[in-house]
Symmetry: C2
Amino acid sequence: MFRLSKLTDYAVVVLGRLAREGAVPGGQVQTAPGLALATGIAEPTVAKVLKILGQAGLVEGVRGARGGYRLTRPLAALPLSEVIFAFDGPIALTACVDGVAGLCEAEGVCQVRGRWDPVNDAIRNALSGITVADIAAPHPVRQPVAAAPVLAQLVAE
Amino acid sequence: MFRLSKLTDYAVVVLGRLAREGAVPGGQVQTAPGLALATGIAEPTVAKVLKILGQAGLVEGVRGARGGYRLTRPLAALPLSEVIFAFDGPIALTACVDGVAGLCEAEGVCQVRGRWDPVNDAIRNALSGITVADIAAPHPVRQPVAAAPVLAQLVAE
DNA sequence: TCAAATAGGACCTTTCAGGTCCCCTTTGAA
DNA sequence: TTCAAAGGGGACCTGAAAGGTCCTATTTGA
């Protein structure tokens, strides 16, 4: 199965938490230890996630005492693809995409080189319309995420 | 980046080769050693790929002397997603999809559980229209797989 | 001056994909 | 009848990458 790194998963959780706590652009900041507590993710891991998000410009870190993190954008304006890019790199299914040499056993005789492009594009396209807000919807009531009608259909299929 | 297993990649090459060699439903069979030679992929690896494809019913193995493999379907009738499923399992970005327990650090407090569904479905959807024939074009010179309207758009984008 | 908090690496451990090898079964042909 | 070619099914080993943890430096409010 495709694997998204766990850090990407944690990132969505943390971003959702930041939004819910009001750590939005111009708002309060939230500390890494606090977010660790709130999300149940180990503190060093949360710190690592936030560091990466900071380097990608998706959150803003405030140093010093009373420091913390806040979002740089509303989640609805943050495409999921940017988060994935920050943690997993460019969205592509194979290394064989743009003719990078030396990675493929069938280098010399491969008839498929470059042919995955349409697949990669289809996936990028599919992801382009999804924002973090769509995934990390802050619903106060947690419980079986009783799938919305749309989701139910998808699951059924 | 997303990673598709290399075996999946090899599988597409091998399937394309089978088609090109006439190892189609009702036709000749091709041996694993022969395919290894033709594709440049190591023989044990080709054998492994074919075994998996056979278990998935995507190729038919003929045992005994003069045995070999042939396709069970024309490549144009073989969705890429079936190949991916055979090698990489269900198409899903995270393990957290259907509430499998014990995999997630934030098990108890995760607010995102199940929320990846729309993402997964978007990807399944994107892949649903692509067949192996679209990827493993049988001949260097070949009439554009008229499937192209959609693909062309994606590529163009 | 101190304590709280981010910033940035370095490091270790574990997991798993990738690849190879071995042995069995089947079957056509000499 | 025998043999060799070929698929079938696992078992095994290895190397790389993900996942986590920890340490140290830097910043800054109280």
